[in-house]
């Protein structure tokens, strides 16, 4: 049972070849690009959604920050679609792997930090000391702010990994419990099944919310540094 629980999180191979790259590239097929002015329904809905999200997320930025619109929209689409596809039974979710999420978080966070130090060095250094700090607290607060800066990419990655992995594990456990209870007590199995349905609805929401939170936090770090 223990091995079965974590078997869905191993990187998939087919006859010894890693197919995880194909799985990561798969969601891009679901977002066709088109050069037409008036598109079909699928592309029109997707473009409307992307426009809505980009307007909501990017209006707070100045010109420099808005150059990252493409990156942030790709990020939210990728994480959202990957998380949602992972809710299909027997599928592999790349965002359950910490390596993948660190690979997304570290370059983006470092990009925002380097941008801040390169273009607005004084303002970037000033972030290490909040305004109105008493003088005797300054050394401790600078240390705390430095630690909180370096924790940002770790928090980004671990938050996404933990949320998606925990959700999948819970679905696996409660599904297994429902199956086991069907022979013992059908009424309890029915209650567990209703819990499973509610949990699945929650996981759909979590999948989209985590994508939004990841992108929003990167956007906030960018706003601080531009």
């Amino acid at each position: 049972m223990n091995e079965n629980l974590f078997a869905s999180f191993t990187t998939p191979t087919m006859t010894g070849l890693p197919i995880v790259i194909l799985i990561i590239m798969f969601p891009s097929i679901l977002f066709p690009s088109s050069n037409r002015l008036i598109n079909n329904r699928l592309i029109s809905i997707q473009q409307w959604l992307v426009q809505l999200t980009s307007k909501q997320m990017m209006t707070i930025h100045n010109n420099k920050g808005q150059t990252w619109t493409l990156m942030l929209m790709s990020l939210i689409l990728f994480i959202g679609s990957t998380n949602l596809l992972g809710l299909l039974p027997h599928s592999f979710t790349p965002t359950t792997q910490l390596s993948m999420n660190l690979g997304m978080a570290i370059p983006l966070w470092a990009g925002t930090v380097f941008m801040g130090f390169r273009h607005k060095t004084k303002a970037a250094l000033a972030h290490f000391l909040p305004q109105g700090t008493p003088i005797f607290l300054i050394p401790m607060l600078v240390i705390i702010e430095t630690i909180s800066l370096f924790i940002q990419p770790m928090a980004l990655a671990v938050r996404l990994t933990a949320n998606i992995t925990a959700g999948h594990l819970l679905i696996h456990l409660i599904g297994g419990a429902t199956l086991a209870l069907m022979d013992i007590s059908p009424s309890t199995a029915l209650i567990t099944f209703i819990i499973l349905i509610l949990l699945t609805i929650l996981e759909f929401a979590v999948a989209m919310i985590q994508a939004y939170v990841f992108t929003l936090l990167v956007s906030l770090y960018l706003h601080d540094n531009t």
Binding site: T67, W68, M71, P107, W109, A110, G111, F114, M115, R118
Partner: protein, 76 residues
């Protein structure tokens, strides 16, 4: 194929790859450095454990300090 790749990908994305994402490339370099450090540390610790367990044939318990300090295995 390379020509269509250049025409469809590189030409529209050139200002992004060359100007906008400069800091992100630097971040990717930082990430690659971190990955290299973690991989080499893992390789070194696995090699060290392999040497320690292979060389001691008398059933003695391996001293714990050998796992915590960096030691270069000596071939006799």
């Amino acid at each position: 194929m390379l020509q269509s790749l250049i025409k469809n990908v590189w030409v529209p994305m050139k200002p992004y790859y060359t100007q906008v994402y400069q800091e992100i490339w630097a971040g990717m370099g930082l990430m690659g450095f971190i990955v290299y450090k973690i991989r080499s540390a893992d390789k070194r610790s696995k090699a060290l454990k392999g040497k320690i367990f292979a060389s001691d044939g008398w059933g003695r318990k391996t001293p714990s300090y050998l796992f915590r300090t960096r030691r270069i295995p000596v071939l006799n």
